[in-house]
Amino acid sequence: MSEGQFDAYGVDAAYDRGEAVCVIGAGMAGLLAVKNLREQGFTVDCYERETAVGGSWNWRHDRSPVYSSTHLVSSRTHTEFPDFPMPDDWPDYPHHSQILAYLERYTDHFGLREHIWFGSEISRIEPTGDGRWDVIVKPVSGNAARRLRYSAVVIANGHNWDPRLPSYKGQEEFRGEILHSSAYKEPARVRGRKVLVVGAGNSGCDIAGEIAVNADKCWHSTRRGYWFVPKYMFGRPGDQTMARMSWMPFGLRQKVSQFAIRRVVGDPRRFGLQRPEHALFASHPIVNSHLLHHIGHGTITPKPDIDHFTADEVHFTDGTSVKPQLVIMATGYRTTFGFCDPELLGMEGGDDGSPRLIGHMFTPRTPTLAVAGLLQADGGIFPLVHWQTIAIAKWLRLRQKDPEAAARFWANAVPEAGRRYVHGKLNDTPRHRLEVSYEVYLKALGQMIEELDGVK
């Protein structure tokens, strides 16, 4: 396919790509989609707004959330793709530059690059009414949009790039600098400054640790109590240790782990932190070994939730206040699909509503639109997204090969929309709606794949 081929098509007439499938994004999820769709025999056109692969893990990208000391939080063998291992002489928790190298190797090893159009942004997708899709592609530089028609669309646009910024009372009056964590890259930015980090997600805690050793002063404000799972437990990466307990019923595993963490890490209240108000695994634990270490060394001062800002101060709910020069909001990201009507994904209540999907992948509204990678888990998500894209590819294949079997599969699948794949009860705040329990969800994916294979 050559660039010139599309020149003749304006935005009005769609260039028909026949049975080809369109993939949006060439991050981890998009690359998996391209490779696994091709493995099922599909022609694939993948569009990527950046000029390179890697998405979040490519620190050169404006929207990349990685900072200089980002390492995996899930261990290497719990994160690698199930059919393309990371080199076994890499460390347990590789650096972000190694993850980018891994994704680049995957791209070249499977010859994916020739199916990716770089510097091309999908600005709109529209159903044509007969199950197919019109896709409007805009070059990032220039404005000659093209309209192309595809048999299906797989959305892999990521959910770690649209900053979620809270607004506290008096925040506009604050004369110091406020930055979302996504804009924080280098410790040089904080040297010699007094910094407040807000938010206790994995990024918040990681960044606080990096800032603690570089800034003049580091406060860390968290809203509630959290479980801190150390990166190593009993001499192994924590996720391996957890897997070794997976023969236990969930409730027992929860109790044993809670006991072990209390014993090894200690009571968070001793460190001036709040006591976790929920049981371990009721919301995904934070994997972090150095936060408590820094608090113990006095290089991080823990603070509760922010109450309000003044011109030069931040006041907390416990009545204390500090005078930071820089506030870093590690307050997460919003899930945004700017290129399609939210209703197509079963979303209501504006941008921040989470899609109601079948198995975190398919929208009950239409069988030819799928989403890959829209989840968080208590473990590495790379393997989950691999099996997601296998399921998506097999589903689209089944629709072509055996419409009757496909209709039966779909009739059974639609009532599953919005189902949660979690152990017991997980917090049901919007922030947690993307969360799955690794093992529960993987089992469901396995069943779906077997069903798709079986009804062949």
């Binding site: 493995e39 059919d83 291992p85 090893h109 897997a243 099996w387 993987l442």
Partner: protein, 207 residues
């Protein structure tokens, strides 16, 4: 029915640790755009048996050719392993190559190949005089084109075993009467290898 194991609890509990591996390489003089071949043997001699004739001949026909000694074999003999570790050695080596290789397993090396195929989507899989053991081989990743080659009179991988292996992968075995079990070392080493390479030329080259 094949095994499709998504959870891989064994690996999640106890990942295979890194160990030294030996790779013997024979590259074509001119790149011919053909896929790499990765040979895996089944006993302590490891990569050596392929270096004798097969690697050079394959390279001569334009295939970059690699032979692997998994842990416990050849120059990698010091570290002991088991089937899971050997399969991991194969997947690690395959993934380290610039592009997806065809993997060729001989004798007990075919069993290692069968296990490795669940962890790596080979360009194609060739089972030579396969001794697959009693376990049902797992479902290969990516459904690679598969070939089963052997000597029906080979006592170590007899006709019945070849037919069973071929049936498992849904193909018909290719017989070379008199080639023996160690066909890469036999006087007539060229014939079965040429048949394999012809099949590859017709199946995966230029695809």
């Amino acid at each position: 029915m094949s095994r499709l194991d998504l959870l891989r609890l064994g690996d999640r509990r106890e990942p295979v640790p890194h160990a030294a591996r030996e790779v013997i390489t024979s590259e074509p003089d001119e790149p011919a755009g053909k896929p790499a071949l990765l040979f895996v043997g089944g006993d302590r001699r490891g990569a050596g048996i392929f270096a004798e004739h097969w690697l050079g001949h394959a390279a001569g026909r334009g295939f970059p050719a690699y032979a692997l000694s998994v842990r416990g074999q050849g120059r990698a003999a010091e570290v002991k392993g088991d089937l899971r570790a050997w399969a991991s050695d194969v997947a690690q080596t395959a993934a380290s190559l610039p592009a997806r290789p065809v993997i060729i397993g001989h004798s007990k090396g075919a069993q290692i190949l069968a296990e490795a195929l669940a962890r790596y989507p080979a360009r194609a899989a060739v089972f030579v005089a396969p001794r697959l053991g009693r376990l049902v081989p797992p479902t290969p990743a990516g459904a690679p084109p598969t070939l089963v080659v052997g000597d029906p009179d080979d006592k170590r991988a007899p006709r019945q075993m070849l037919e069973k292996a071929a049936a498992h992968y849904g193909v018909a075995p290719l017989f070379f009467q008199g080639a023996g079990h160690e066909m890469m070392l036999a006087a007539a080493w060229r014939e079965p290898l040429d048949a394999i390479l012809d099949w590859l030329d017709g199946t995966v080259v230029g695809e």
